[in-house]
Symmetry: C2
Subunit: 325 residues, 2 copies
């Protein structure tokens, strides 16, 4: 077993989560602090450093035993260059060479990865993907994030925008996605789009229990759709079924591309429980080929919101192990 510790930092638009982990993915200390985006880049960078320093101190570990820091950042970013490029929810961090800044200011080697990739690495290393070599994860939140592990390695791609599974085209000419494409899986299966899709159908005149919320000036949320679908509301049921169907189609496409042993679903939408999981499994099974029995086992993530910092620490361990540093 490797000795020492790595810190993991999950840089989000609202909070920074951090933890100190050993090589076996045990969390010795963890915390969450506000990102304070509004106060600008210097504050955000200081908050990241403070969070990392604090988990080291909280764990009572000697600083010399800290091998590295891993940071999961919203994209677009570059792992190779250690650079945050232009994250939508962290505008002040545009073009920040965070890896260099961290290394300089802490004296500890740092590695930077896409937050969705880091979270997938977390589940792969310490959660629902443990013990599996070919794995992928969909994070079903406002958008749909993805992370793909091929033969034990993160799939980053030449332009470092690989594993963007939410942008698999599942319905050519379909709904417009925020990325500019038509018919992305995210345009049907993310929490945000699920709600917008219901609003569209209701605006088109379809009858739904959800109309009362819209009339009351409420913004529809994914939870409302799930709740109404469970009660048998036909608009909610249609939209929910579509979301699960297109996710199933993306899983089948990935079955033929990276051919994973296991597919893990994470993010806020997994609160729907079996109502989601059973439906996605049913659609994937109906959509897949009859030639061979190689559909991945589909299950839920187990690390919750900790996957990000755990995976970021795991990426640091991986940078150490593979000699990236």
């Amino acid at each position: 077993m490797a000795e020492g510790y790595c810190a993991g930092v999950d840089l989000g638009g609202t909070n920074i989560k951090a933890g100190l982990l050993d090589a076996e993915a045990h969390v010795l200390a963890s915390l969450s602090v506000p990102t304070e985006v509004d106060r600008g880049r210097d504050t955000v960078v200081s908050n990241i450093i403070t969070a990392a320093e604090r988990v080291i101190a909280d764990a009572g570990v000697d600083r010399s035993q800290v091998i590295g820091i891993g940071i999961g950042s919203p994209g677009p970013m570059s792992h190779r260059r250690g650079l945050i490029i232009n994250p939508g929810n962290l505008p002040c961090m545009k073009d920040t060479p965070l890896r260099e800044i961290m290394t300089e200011r802490t004296g500890i080697k740092t590695t930077l990865d896409n937050d969705a990739n880091a979270a997938a690495w977390g589940e792969f290393w310490a959660g629902a993907g443990k013990g599996v070599s070919d794995f992928l994860m969909f994070t079903l939140g406002t958008g749909v994030g993805g992370g793909v592990i091929v033969d034990g390695k993160l799939l980053r791609g030449y332009f470092e925008n690989g594993s963007e599974l939410g942008h698999i085209i599942v319905q050519p000419g379909g709904r417009r996605c925020s990325c500019g494409q038509l018919g992305c899986m995210e345009a049907y299966s993310s929490a945000y789009n699920l709600a917008r899709r219901a609003e569209e159908l209701i605006a088109d005149g379809k009858s739904s229990q959800l109309k009362a919320r819209i009339d009351a000036g409420e913004m529809l949320m994914a939870e409302h759709i799930v709740e109404a679908a469970r009660r048998g509301d036909s608009v909610a049921e249609q939209v929910w079924d579509e979301a699960c169907y297109y996710l199933g189609a993306a899983i089948v496409t990935m079955q033929h591309v990276s051919n994973p042993e296991r597919v893990v679903l994470a993010g806020g939408m997994i609160a729907a429980g079996d109502f989601l999981l059973e439906r996605v499994r049913k659609h994937a099974k109906a959509l897949t080929w009859t030639l061979l029995d190689d559909l991945a086992d589909i299950r839920f993530a187990t690390l919750g919101n900790d996957a990000g910092f755990i995976g970021a620490a795991g990426c640091a361990w991986e940078a150490h192990r593979t000699g990236e540093w």
Copy 2:
């Protein structure tokens, strides 16, 4: 530079192609002999061995300098187990542990790979993918074969059925593919399906110059569609445009999954030249996101029918280099 030579064998339903290559992908000798499927497994195995022995002899190379043999075989097969499982066009080779048989009978280490993967490796190593680390290839023939290289390694997947790019779902609920799925890219973009799709439209009553061929009892071929589309026949144009459109959609999906630097098109259909390439590029560009400029460079393969045995020899070199043997 590594010394020695590897033999590559491309095992097809009609012919066995073989060559002897050095570590720099120079072909010292090559040949093609009939597979003789009808004569059964022992004959086919003997023909494979004879082909490999002959290219070694033809090259005038000392047998002791031959490091290994690579074989590209139709799937389903297992690289890990060195086993041909159940290839549609080589029924006599069902459940043949070809790797062991070859090693025993020739005394030379052997590695077995899927033929589409071997061909992709050939273009990656010595053809249109040379110098690129993240690459993928579509082989547009009767079906659509695929091969994906991620960071210099073949993507095989946990069940060893990865890189089956023809079975990306591009139109949920669409045309039935021979694999059992609905709406596979292959169901629109392969030579076989292109012709069937035209027949369907004509049977539905659409007017086309191609009807004369059908009435004369001819079976439509992809070449006929291309020819008629060039002349402006509306059915042929529709079917051809669909084929290019869905190939473009699959390329965009792969842009977001493996994020390659280059995409190569191979197989019989590339005889259509710019009529194919420009159309696919146009559709991919129209389908991709506006967020970032990371669409792969799309171009034609350069090794033609030799890609299979060249890639098979390359897989043998790779088995040697990575210590697989």
